[in-house]
């Protein structure tokens, strides 16, 4: 197609130039030469960068607006709409926000506590949990995070509710991890009956089961030492995908880890991480996997192909 007008001819301000570049790159019909010109334009002046990011942000902001044909009357009718309560406005969604939870740990924190009835519980990073009762028995509801329970046989029966299912213990030690409404029950000793609606699984020592979205998976064997290494302040990964590893590391440190590119995210990783030194992990990985890792303050780590 015919070339679009050159930005130097007529587009004066950073805003106009940013609009030019954004419009051109949006279409996807730019040439190699355009790409180089864009790169040098944006690197030339911080004001260019700012202007470009702002235009980009406007475009992205418009993605959720009602932009049907020009009928201003109809649209005005919506403008008076009531403010929807800010349930989601500050947090990252209802499921991760439990203002009334009885127990909670901060990011990076592990805490041991004794529940009513004398049971021991060890809470992993970023966990929220409440005391509940059901069918005349005491239990806890795990809202988010991971907890290891030590339920000695002398204690009364006990259950852990998470993601719509209950895990019943008659004595033993087990771990329940709930993230993004996917829950995994891992049993160290004794056995746990996991009941989800009309489905039930009996999980014995050395086994685990995962359920998700109302569906129960199969009971399978796990390496307990690796799966529960977090109790001793370690995370152990054996042939896990980098994307999954990043997601798990995120639970233990503040800030976000972004893995750019599916081929990078699917790289296999085997390593043992000291939970007190999670920040040292990624630079080490970078060397081992020939990846490029940029850490920007404590809040953002970007991993991509070198």
């Amino acid at each position: 197609m015919t070339r679009f007008p050159n930005p130097d001819s007529g587009f004066q301000t950073p805003t106009e130039q940013a609009a030019y570049w954004f419009a051109l790159l949006l279409d996807g019909s730019e040439t190699e030469e355009d790409r180089r010109a864009f790169a040098s334009w944006i690197e030339k002046d911080p004001r260019n960068m700012t202007a470009f990011n702002e235009v980009e942000r406007l475009w992205s902001g418009s993605s959720s607006l009602h932009l049907a044909a020009n009928n201003k009357v109809g649209r005005r009718a919506f403008l008076g709409g009531t403010v929807v309560a800010g349930i989601l406005a500050t947090g990252w969604g209802v499921q991760r926000y439990h203002p009334t939870a009885d127990f909670r740990t901060a990011t990076g924190e592990r805490r041991e506590l004794t529940l009513p009835g004398g049971m021991r519980a060890l809470l992993a990073s970023g966990t929220t949990m409440s005391l509940v009762s059901g069918q005349g028995l005491a239990g806890v509801e795990l809202h988010e995070g991971e907890v290891w329970f030590d339920h000695s046989k002398g204690n009364r029966d006990f259950f852990v509710a998470a993601s719509g299912a209950r895990s019943w213990s008659r004595g033993g030690s087990f771990d329940v991890a709930r993230y993004d409404d996917q829950t995994t029950v891992t049993v160290e000793q004794g056995s746990v009956a996991v009941k989800l609606a009309d489905q039930a699984r009996l999980v014995s020592g050395g086994q685990a089961v995962t359920y998700h979205d109302g569906k129960m998976g199969a009971v399978h064997d796990v390496n307990i030492a690796n799966a529960l290494a977090w109790r001793d302040g370690r995370l152990v990964f054996v042939g896990d995908k980098l994307g999954d590893v990043a997601r798990i590391l995120e639970r233990w440190q503040s800030g976000k880890i972004i893995v750019i590119g599916d081929h990078v995210a699917s790289r296999k990783v085997t390593m043992s991480v000291d939970l007190d030194r999670t920040r040292d992990v990624l630079p080490t990985l970078a060397g081992a996997l020939s990846l490029k890792i940029d850490q920007f303050t404590d809040y953002l780590t970007v991993i991509r192909a070198a």
């Binding site: 609009a19 944006i42 960068m49 235009v55 942000r57 992205s60 919506f78 349930i87 997601r247």
Partner: protein, 174 residues
């Protein structure tokens, strides 16, 4: 008056949207961010349609955000300096204050877009809603593709300047 039951929508659609987004070959946590952002938009958007259109609204918004993500990643690949590249993707950063649009801000954006002259607005909407190229837009509107492109540049410039002016007026009032 529009009042969506965001809690119910979240429970009903969150997982479906996540699957929908993940099918676009996005990593889990990016997909999760996009779905979260979709619901944040529901809270912040001043011009929601009636709730019976909620499903298509949610899918359309999530789809737009996915497209926006891929565009950002594509543009990022043109920039060689890694520090620059980071600045460019800063919008992907986790800080919700940075990403999230406030309701007031979206309302101002809506007003600025509504105020665009018809011929600029038409081009903007075809590109935004239909994701059409300037060649397609030109054909549809009966104008050369270069004109469609120039109108797009003009529309973006006007909207951005209007938002800046608005920002200045607001701080002057304060």
């Amino acid at each position: 008056m529009t009042h969506w039951d965001v809690n119910t929508l979240f429970r009903t659609y969150r997982r479906r949207l996540l699957q929908f987004v993940q099918r676009r070959k996005l990593s889990w946590h990016l997909a999760d961010d996009i779905v979260q952002d979709t619901f944040l938009r529901v809270v912040a958007t001043p011009s929601l349609p009636e709730q019976r259109f909620a499903q298509s609204y949610l899918y359309r918004t999530a789809n737009n955000l996915v497209i926006d993500h891929f565009r950002r990643e594509r543009i990022l690949s043109f920039v060689s300096d890694p520090d620059m590249a980071f600045e460019l993707i800063a919008d992907d950063a986790p800080n919700p204050e940075q990403i999230a649009w406030s309701r007031q801000e979206l309302r101002r954006l809506q007003t600025a877009l509504d105020a665009l002259p018809r011929h600029l607005r038409d081009v903007f909407i075809l590109a935004r809603v239909g994701g059409e190229t300037y060649v397609d837009i030109g054909k549809k509107l009966g104008i050369p593709s270069q004109t469609a492109f120039s109108r797009m540049v003009k529309a973006l410039t006007i909207v951005k300047e209007a938002m800046e002016q608005d920002e200045k007026n607001r701080s002057a009032i304060r």
